[in-house]
Amino acid sequence: MNVGLLIDLLLGLILVGLAVQVVLGRQLFRSIVFYVAFGLAMALVWARLGAVDLALADAALGAGLTGALMLAAFRRLIKLDPAQAVTSGSAHTALALLIAVLAAGMVATIGLTAMALESQPGAAGVAVFEALPATGLGNPVTGVLLAWRGFDTLVEMVVLLTAFLGARVVADEGWAPRSTVASFDLPLLRTLVAAIVPLASLIALYLLWIGSDQPGGAFQAGSVLAAAGVLLLLTGQLLPAPTSSAWLRLGLVLGVAGIGLLVLLPMLSGRPPLAWLGRGALLLAESMMMVSIGCTLTLMFAGAPGLKDGTR
């Protein structure tokens, strides 16, 4: 047995083991924590499969922010009614087990059958690698997201915005000055935050800049920004506010505007902006998306319409 197969088997076992823990864990809190661990293991698997863009995105978004959002929602339930928040019976039946096993068999059959198929000569992936040098981009995933499948990315940004607006509409709690954070008065904490937040911003800008040629891009950068926002909220440097400032609203819609311009301008000018404005256009659209993603995810975590400075 070679080392590669051993690593694959080990990673697979870790993933399956963590998934079992998520589903079967007695306490909900434990399940959420195991889900975060599952997301991180998933990021390792992406890296192993050579999909580094996905590894970055899954570590930041799939594991980090989903976990943070779930824990925040769990905390909200506990505050409402501690007894009811954690009760979660489950109805284990033989039928559910049978359905699950059959579904797993179906997925395995589909996967193994699809793998046995020969790839077609005109496949989209091959075309991407052929056309990539003409765009001047080095990262094929960024090329697909922004140059060829820009409409997908536009709709994705719209979904993100819609999900945030929907969450605001659904939240009927009104706005109460919830103390989302304990007031930490640790001397080191402020220093630590003061060091980490600028560093996170720097990493976000780096991911954005490098995203044209290397793994990275607007989504990874935006989620790093959002992680900085979550940290600021957790430490009380930022606080949820009942109203949002004009700047924040601008930040929320900036991404849709940026990618919208990037994919709709060619319809007016007849030429793709990549050929017309060069990589500057991509970077501009991506930085607008990064700001939007950061703002939206931070506000989703805050569970509030706006933010205010908590240091004053």
């Binding site: 697979g12 989903t66 009614d81 496949a123 995933v141 709690e173």
Partner: protein
């Protein structure tokens, strides 16, 4: 890298997730299970296409990247719905035995059957 291993892993995670979705009553557990199923499908989408000259196919990667962002957005929305549900019915579980409106309907249909 051995793709067949990951196909089987994806199938196992999908099954585990579906089982969790079916048996769980708490909405957040259902959401966790759904997210597991999503991860399994993402894994399948990446593993199945053959690599092109040793590089992974970028098209499914872009698809999955989009999928990850959409999954986070919909999860956030679903969590907001869950908090609303909790405020309204006092717990965050979905199950016929626990939903008073459904129980009422069931009794009504039983009574109708009894009348016949």
């Amino acid at each position: 890298m051995n793709p067949a291993v990951y196909v089987l892993v994806a199938a196992a995670i999908f099954g585990i997730g579906l089982h969790g979705l079916l048996v769980a009553r708490h909405v957040m557990r259902k959401l966790l299970a759904l997210n597991l199923m999503l991860s399994a499908l993402f894994l399948l989408l990446i593993v199945v296409p053959a690599s092109i000259d040793g590089r992974p196919d970028p098209v499914p990667q872009a698809l999955v990247l989009t999928g990850i962002v959409i999954a986070v957005s919909t999860t956030a929305f679903a969590l907001a719905l869950m908090v609303r549900l909790f405020r309204r019915q006092g717990h965050a579980s979905i199950h016929p035995d626990l939903d008073p409106t459904l129980i009422g309907q069931r009794r009504a249909t039983k009574r109708k059957e009894g009348d016949r």
